[in-house]
């Protein structure tokens, strides 16, 4: 039983790794279509991606929309999370449920709603429309990450500062904010990624003018399976890889430099 489970487990590791590994060699291929093994290797498709406005524009749109989405989401979610984690009040469980609702509704359902609603508001085919929609969808995950951080916050630190004569504003600036910084950064990152990756709503409302990268990729895969997608996939993959590997490398370096054994 144990050995069987282990062998299946190893097979699953390969199953999970294979699709992640395969796009990298394909992005350097010289073939005009998806061919494996590639007949030769070159930077051709990378050059194509970085010189083609029909790919670069959606990439910039996505970065812009995700950034705006992050700012708006944080401005709305941070105060709300403080209210929900630190206060007891009438209607709290309702408010909690409200924060989670956008996660429970399938994106296709929201896409139908936005398609018609934003049509009336003249917000389809606009970046503003995509930002407004994405912000709703980013609320739950941002709230979850931030509230987990806030729940672990040691309130005695704030009380100590207050007892030493700090004003509430000073406590927030010098105690609360610095301690919460990593939590705020991570929840902002989650909001950014949520928007950057969101595909379904973007397909329906972004149009040609506010076309996001996932929408462009979706259309391209649907129509012709352009090998440039392998380039974008490799680049996105590299970003994720760097985001996960680099922090642990830095941690390792710090440990070695500091000479303190890990705990």
């Amino acid at each position: 039983m144990n050995t069987l489970m282990r062998w299946i487990g190893i097979a699953v590791v390969i199953f999970i790794a294979a699709p992640l590994v395969i796009v990298v060699p394909m992005s350097f291929s010289t073939a005009a279509s998806l061919q494996f093994p590639p007949p030769g290797y070159s930077w051709g498709y990378y050059q194509q991606f970085f010189s083609d406005p029909s790919w670069l524009r959606p990439a910039w749109n996505s970065i812009y929309i995700a950034t705006m989405n992050t700012l708006l989401t944080m401005a709305l979610v941070v105060p709300a999370t403080f209210a929900l984690v630190r206060h007891k009040f009438w209607g709290k469980s309702f408010a909690n449920l409200m924060m989670m609702m956008p996660m429970a509704v399938p994106h296709i359902v929201m896409a139908v709603g936005y398609y018609s609603y934003f049509g009336e508001l003249k917000l389809v085919h606009s970046k503003l429309g995509v930002v407004l929609a994405h912000t709703c969808l980013s609320v739950p995950i941002t709230f979850l990450v931030l509230s987990a951080n806030l729940k672990g916050f040691d309130l005695t630190l704030e009380r100590a500062a207050r007892s030493l004569g700090a004003t509430p504003g000073q406590v927030f600036r010098h105690i609360t904010l610095p301690i919460l910084k990593p939590g705020l950064a991570i929840s902002a990152l989650f909001a950014f990624i949520q928007s950057f990756d969101e595909t379904v709503v973007a397909i329906f409302i972004s149009g040609r003018d506010a076309e996001t990268l996932p929408r462009k990729m979706f259309d391209s895969i649907r129509e012709e399976a352009d090998p440039v997608i392998a380039v974008i996939s490799t680049l996105l993959f590299a970003v994720v890889f760097a985001g996960l590997i680099v922090p642990s490398l830095i941690k390792g370096l710090r440990r070695m430099a500091g000479g303190t054994p890990s705990k």
């Binding site: 282990r6 487990g9 992640l20 990756d197 595909t199």
Partner: protein, 282 residues
């Protein structure tokens, strides 16, 4: 005195709602209103009445699509479980370093855009792809078509959703006290019976969490079935997209959306009453 006390009480309940107000108004305007609009469209387009629901709930095409959606979601959940359980088990038995390596791989997969992962399966299973190439090398002259079938979309969805299952089960497995297993062994439980009477019940909460999550996400899946699935075996989200984009049948698309939403909410609602929704995504 009485005044200041009531003022204090008032401030205590008002302050949190003041902090919540911007978000509440925002969600009402940009989340609730569009959702209500879908409900309204479902009973007014093209003319008022319940005709859309009648069609969606009794028409043979719609019944087929909904059945197919449930079947696929069930199959994908089952596959995720069959794939996820052994991997979580492997992770909880190997050395810490190896477990970290696998965890890194799963995290990486999770964070890679599912559009990228869908595309990767297209490359893997394509006519000139590595799987066909391997089959030909092994002597299968004419490999069966792999792409745009039930197989390709199921494989990709399992790959995309498996991390949810694995993480949920692994979290539970990690918390199992090894002395429980040892004492069960010392009392004569081994192999199958140890697994069935000790290990499986202990990991059941993780299985429940993961399964609900995978099933619900799969029910509403749009991108992967549309790009990789067989056009003859559509899922609900794909058909809704068609109704809106191609046929401009807003009423039918909305009615289907509401049916999909109600089913999703019922499942999540049952889950919420038993375990609490916030645990699901934690």
């Amino acid at each position: 005195m009485g005044l200041s006390l009531s003022a204090l009480a008032e401030r205590k309940t008002l302050w949190p709602w003041l902090l919540l107000a911007p978000l509440t108004i925002y969600l009402a305007l940009f989340f609730l209103v569009p959702l209500v609009e879908v409900v309204i469209m479902s009973v007014t387009e093209p003319r008022p009445g319940l005709a859309n629901y009648e069609k969606v709930l009794t028409g043979s095409l719609y019944r087929k699509v909904f059945l197919n959606t449930f079947g696929t979601a069930l199959l994908v959940t089952l596959c995720c479980l069959l794939v996820g359980y052994p991997l979580a088990y492997l992770m909880s038995t190997v050395s810490k370093r190896a477990a970290m390596g696998i965890l890194l791989l799963i995290t990486m997969s999770f964070w890679t855009s599912f559009l990228v992962r869908t595309y990767a399966w297209m490359v893997l299973l394509g006519n000139n792809g590595p799987v066909v190439w391997l089959m030909q090398t092994l002597g299968i002259a004419e490999p069966p078509p792999l792409l745009f079938t039930r197989l390709s979309s199921t494989l990709a969805m399992v790959h995309i959703l498996a991390p949810y299952m694995i993480m949920n089960i692994y979290t539970v497995m990690q918390k199992i006290d090894p002395s429980l297993i040892r004492s069960a062994e010392s009392m004569g439980a081994y192999g199958k019976s140890l697994f069935r009477h000790v290990y499986l019940p202990l990991t059941a909460p993780g299985i429940a969490n993961g399964s609900v999550l995978v099933f619900v996400i799969c029910l509403g899946f749009y991108v992967t079935p549309v790009l990789l699935g067989s056009p003859r075996e559509q899922m609900a989200a794909g058909l809704i997209g068609n109704q809106i984009e191609q046929f401009l049948a807003f009423g039918l698309g909305s009615a289907m959306s509401i049916v999909l939403l109600v089913v999703t909410l019922v499942i999540l609602g049952i889950y919420h009453r038993r375990f609490g929704l916030d645990k699901l995504y934690g």
